[in-house]
């Protein structure tokens, strides 16, 4: 497929878009303040003698900044893992859920919510951490089972792994259904909201594991870009081009399990970003992973931040589920590109 726009133009637009998304995410919210307040807070922290209202400082530093960082990391990581999975399965419809990490994480969280409630309730100060840890562990566990099931004579058979992923996702879904049946009314509602995903309630203490993993994925994945390009031709072709295909698969699966597991653990299930952002970037830039990887990261982070800004503004003082908005913003744009791409072909 021929790229629709020049690569440089797309990257300039994406970088500007991300900067805009970050500044909007810091300046907009239900508490009205002038658009320059975040910069004044930043400058006053850097030692400039600026007058900043303590309430505004608190809101920007303790509520909006952690939320923005969470959105950046989660959006970027979800999109990157989407690229990794679409490359691994050589299928533009692949999403990180295919290797069981999302369903595993959801199962881990559901177990903690329901069993915690059954044991007389988790201590409120610990429950968010336990929930995240359990979701992360669930994601890794289910993915490792999928990986093992997909291995035959020392090689990972991608088709078997895909089927194993589908089966385990169904199994996890059934177990979550069972937990929902066992749960009482209050627990059920907590579960529902967790599954909708949200950047609400982000705090620095819960942020750093995701930031660390996001950084790891961000540094590691681009190093596999050329190998992923070779893999597009087929497994044996890639092997002939000197790519250690098995090692590449292991890397991609591990990075995705870590990345998506951490993202889901930090902000619940947020769909659409991992599936559609890489696809969208492929329509814009073509299939070269050397451009696809950084572009997807920028676009994923921007999309999630913009969706979050809308989520907190649209029904303020309440909040919309963010998954609804990522799809509402992304889907029409995606359809536009799809139709446009077809008429240019």
């Amino acid at each position: 497929m021929k790229p629709l726009f020049s690569i440089r133009l797309v990257f300039i637009a994406l970088a500007l878009g991300l900067l805009l998304a970050i500044s909007l995410s810091l300046s907009l919210g239900p508490v009205a303040m002038s658009l320059d307040t975040p910069w004044r807070v930043l400058l006053s922290r850097l030692g400039l003698p600026l007058l900043v209202e303590p309430q505004a400082q608190l809101i920007i530093e303790q509520i909006r900044l952690p939320r923005t960082l969470l959105g950046l990391a989660a959006g970027g990581v979800l999109a990157l893992c989407g690229v990794a999975m679409q490359g691994l399965f050589r299928n533009p419809l692949a999403d990180p859920g295919l290797i069981g990490v999302s369903s595993g994480a959801a199962l881990g969280a559901a177990l903690m919510i329901v069993l915690g409630a059954g044991l007389g309730g988790l201590a409120p100060e610990w429950s968010p951490y336990l929930l995240s840890a359990s979701a992360f562990a669930g994601g890794l566990l289910v993915t490792s089972v999928v990986y093992r099931l997909g291995r035959k004579q020392g090689r990972v058979d991608v088709a078997t792994m895909l089927l194993a992923g589908v089966a385990l996702a169904a199994l996890a879904g059934a177990l979550i259904g069972l937990l929902q049946y066992l749960a009482d009314d209050a627990t059920l509602r907590t579960l529902t909201f967790w599954n909708l995903g949200s950047l609400n309630g982000a705090s620095y203490s819960r942020l750093w594991p995701l930031l660390a993993i996001a950084l790891l994925v961000l540094v590691s994945l681009p190093r596999s870009a050329s190998a992923l390009n070779a893999l597009l031709l087929g497994e044996s072709e890639a092997r002939h081009l000197g790519v250690d295909v098995e090692r590449l698969k292991r890397r991609l699966i591990l990075l995705t399990a870590l990345g998506v597991g951490a993202a889901v653990a930090a902000c619940g299930m947020i769909g659409f970003v991992g599936l559609v952002v890489p696809h969208l970037m492929r329509l814009l830039l073509g299939p070269d992973h050397r451009t696809l990887i950084p572009a997807s990261m920028l676009a994923g982070a921007s999309l999630l931040l913009l969706a979050d800004v809308l989520a907190r503004l649209l029904v303020a003082p309440a909040e919309m589920p963010i998954g609804v908005l990522t799809a509402l913003i992304g889907a029409p744009f995606f359809l536009y590109l799809l139709v446009r791409g077809r008429s240019h072909a």
Binding site: P124, D185, N200, A316, P317
Partner: protein
């Protein structure tokens, strides 16, 4: 300036609990109802999505569902205090609100009289209306006590099931440890369901339990419509003793969530009337003290 006011108020509450708070956000249907009943409505700057009674509350800004509050949305309303039940959440948001100087009051939503008494004492102190709160509690309790006394003269306790449905969709049956179970008991009925919480039940299991009265409650429909929708969805219910005798009282589902509402005595009296048609209730009981 604002910080100082908050500090002074926090100290004031420590030293003199009668100090009335200025701007309140109420989270949880029953909490909001009681705040209004105690004359605190003019202090409310927002409520949550479960606060639907009295109707005037729906005109206030809505902070969303009580388990999914947002720190900034609430801070934008500049509340002095947030009052809710243990159902409020998520915990990180509550921590952020506390960090921003909002006083959090967490009441219990458990359906019981001692809980209600403690909750009303706390709300009364918060509004500086302790005497009013105590009087309201005593009136509430007196109505239930009077009903209980009348019920004690009745024989042949009816077997009851309470069905909660959504526009006739699969009904859930109220089991033990639910507000529904509490209401049935207060109205002198015997809850035939022995499971814990709200669980779906098959038509056959419902028939086998042979309830004499089916209490119908619907999240979307009211009155006769709720009854008709349920019977359409579960035709087998018409064959239960309750269905044959058309003993299908309807109650408001908002009575079942978020703690004990001031409308409970009236609802319980109506249920008791449905359970014991011969019961002669004074008209004042059925009118109730609900605002």
């Amino acid at each position: 300036m604002r910080r100082n006011t908050l500090l002074a108020m926090a100290l004031g509450l420590l030293i003199n609990p009668a100090q009335a708070a200025e701007r309140l956000i109420s989270v949880g249907g029953a909490v909001s109802e009681w705040l209004v009943a105690l004359g605190g409505e003019q202090h409310l700057v927002a409520v949550d999505s479960t606060s639907r009674h009295p109707l005037s509350l729906t005109a206030l800004p809505n902070v969303g569902y009580q388990r999914n509050l947002t720190a900034e949305g609430i801070l934008a309303l500049q509340p002095d205090a947030l009052i809710g039940t243990e159902e409020m959440g998520p915990p990180p948001v509550l921590a952020q609100l506390k960090g921003a100087g909002v006083n959090l009051y967490t009441l219990s939503s458990a359906p019981s009289l001692p809980t209600l008494e403690a909750n009303l004492a706390q709300l009364g102190a918060l509004l500086g209306r302790e005497a009013e709160a105590q009087a309201q509690y005593q009136a509430f309790q007196a109505q239930l006590a009077q009903l209980e006394q009348q019920l004690s003269q009745q024989s042949s306790q009816p077997g009851v099931l309470l069905l909660l449905s959504h526009a006739g969709g699969n009904p859930m049956v109220a089991g033990t440890d639910t507000a529904g179970d509490w209401l049935i008991k207060l109205a002198g009925g015997h809850n035939l369901a022995s499971h814990e919480g709200y669980k779906p039940m098959t038509s056959e299991a419902l028939l086998a339990l042979a309830p004499q009265v089916l209490v119908v409650t619907d999240r979307a429909l009211t009155g006769a419509k709720a009854r008709a929708a349920l019977l359409e969805q579960q035709p087998a219910l018409a064959a239960t003793p309750a269905g044959l005798a058309q003993r299908l009282p309807v109650i408001d589902p908002t009575l079942l969530v978020g703690g004990v509402s001031p409308r409970v005595p009236k609802a319980v009296a109506e249920l008791a009337q449905a359970f014991y048609p011969a019961l002669q209730l004074p008209s004042s009981t059925l009118a109730g003290s609900a605002p």
